[in-house]
Symmetry: C2
Subunit: 331 residues, 2 copies
DNA sequence: TTGTAAGCGTTATCAT
DNA sequence: ATGATAACGCTTACAA
């Protein structure tokens, strides 16, 4: 186990040069004669010298890492988002701090603590309060991910409006009545947008939208539970517009488990287009969102440094509806 | 945005004390008179002084954070594992670096890079090669999570043997023949253990185990795909033992989607007991694993410092079979 | 091209 | 109880 590592000073002594030269060689900056470089490199190789991250951070006044704050990590959406973010950050030679708040009470406090260990932070949706977000922005560069810009804090998000199209499709093209929206608008800006698009589509079709959404979490199991309650009611919905694919999949599984026919008895739609959505029977009608790109774009914004005139303040990425069979369309 | 922060020296000047006293007050160590403490605290409050993480790390010679390396983050298993790990680490006042290798080619290299920014590392299963693992252990304290101890590197894992019980149950109690194991033993030590327990149970029942497992990934979508191939064959299996619940759920959904009856035509079992498993129809027979505790135990081991005489070298956590209906047992 | 020396922001050891 | 001051390990002017 780690026989106390070598310092630059010791390498310098061994190679008979100054620490400055060791630094120049190890970072590849400045002018060093080939012979000297070779000599230093030999010592570095031989003794396995690796510069201390701490010393370097202090001298350079930068941590060399960024953070991404998410409500949780479960499900394909977050996994994909993180991959996009991570790979972009790594290409830039930095490292990533991932923090899932999981609705813990002291989340805000921890997020502020993280700000002390990274150079910049990406915050997903409404994971932390607006005040904490502002406080955070005072301590480090911040980008909101899947949310709206706030007081000069830029945002990267996807276009949620296709939920309106989808709702219109169910209402007008298929002629369904009694639609229910499943998802909690309070939970995230994305769901808020989708719920509003759902309601607006009703108004555009001159129909009264439901007064309330059916509020649940965003995981598959939440969808199954929702199906249980919704479909056991006296007047079950004819179609369910879900806030995301995971819940839609859960609702589908729950409906099928109760012996219902989808889309015959119940039509279902989702959002995201995760892999499972095209593998279930019937396949899920949904909206495709470039999740990976969302993470990558956020990372680029964070890394390239924010602010400055002409900087991106709000990046809205395009999405597209994917019509399959769960809405009632023919195969 | 961050009006260049105050340093301890500046606080010292403002409070008319020395930096040493500022340090004593801010860390709450040493003896400081009430008046002096109050004076310093006032300045700290007023100007919003927060000690620099970099300076502190260098002086204390510790990063104050640990890392956890995983193959990926998708699915409820990893989410739960991370929560257990994270919450234990945070209670200790440290922060967490999460790194998902996602099978990227340069994963090993990145893992070694991470070792330079943390005080200790937990590595899941076979995410990195044995050589890299040893090299890593030379740079920082390491614990293997869901794998076997290696050359003095301790491990924390769950007991996979109940898969043997489950297999015996299918073979003997239900009298099924033609069982298939779904999962890739090369992928992780856990799956290796489970595949071996599956084979041993066959031998114990004096039956020939299948020569090969059906190798796939550990996600739900992989399970659906597996069901498609397996059930379309000339002689489909009578029962499928899956490496985990996610794939079992996928197989179940795939089988149901093809119009098969479960467990009538096909029995299915899993491992983990994730929330979905008790919500599907039929409910999944599986093995309950204390995933959260697995993460927490790993974190505690990492934090309390490894090595030393009498240290834990291999912690195997108890698991239990959960009999439900997907194996053919009555409701 | 190379070396000297001054930071970077803490903590901790001595004196006083 | 408090203050100088020396680490901690590196980068980077500035000199030579």
């Amino acid at each position: 186990m780690g026989n106390r590592r070598l310092t630059a000073r010791e390498v310098a002594k061994l190679a008979d040069v100054s620490v400055a030269t060791v630094s120049r060689v190890s970072r590849g900056t400045g002018q060093v004669s080939p012979e000297t470089r070779a000599r230093v490199l030999r010592v570095i190789e031989e003794h396995g010298y690796r510069p201390s991250q701490m010393g370097r951070a202090l001298a350079e006044q930068r941590h060399g890492s960024v953070a991404i704050v998410l409500p949780g990590l479960a499900g394909p959406y977050f996994s994909e988002l993180i991959q996009g973010f991570e790979s972009e950050v790594m290409d830039a030679g930095a490292s990533v701090h991932i923090f899932g708040t999981h609705h813990r009470a002291d989340a805000d406090e921890h997020v502020l603590g993280i700000a002390a260990r990274v150079d910049a932070v990406a915050v997903h949706g409404d994971t932390i309060g607006a005040d904490t977000l502002r406080e955070l922005a005072a301590r480090a560069p911040v980008v909101v991910l899947a949310g709206r810009p706030l007081d000069g804090i830029p945002a990267v998000r996807a276009d949620n409006s296709p939920i309106g199209e989808l709702t219109r499709h169910l209402l007008v093209d298929h002629g369904y009545r009694r639609l229910t929206f499943v998802g909690d608008p309070e939970g995230s800006p994305d769901v808020t947008d989708r719920w509003e698009a759902f309601r607006d589509a009703h108004r555009d079709a001159r129909l009264a939208p439901p007064r309330n959404p059916f509020r649940i979490g965003l995981q598959q199991s939440d969808g199954v539970l929702a199906a249980g309650e919704l479909l056991g009611a006296r007047r079950p919905p004819r179609a369910i517009v879900c806030a995301n694919d995971e819940t839609a999949l859960g609702v589908l599984i729950g409906a099928l488990g109760r012996g219902l026919s989808v889309p015959g008895d119940l039509a279902i739609t989702g959002f995201d287009d995760v892999p499972m959505s095209s593998l279930v029977q019937p396949r899920l009608t949904t909206v495709r969102q470039p999740v990976r790109e969302l993470g990558a774009t956020t990372a680029r914004l964070l890394i390239s440094g924010l602010g400055g005139p002409g900087a991106v303040m709000d990046a809205v990425l395009a999405t597209e509806t994917v019509m399959r069979e769960s809405c009632g369309c023919p195969l």
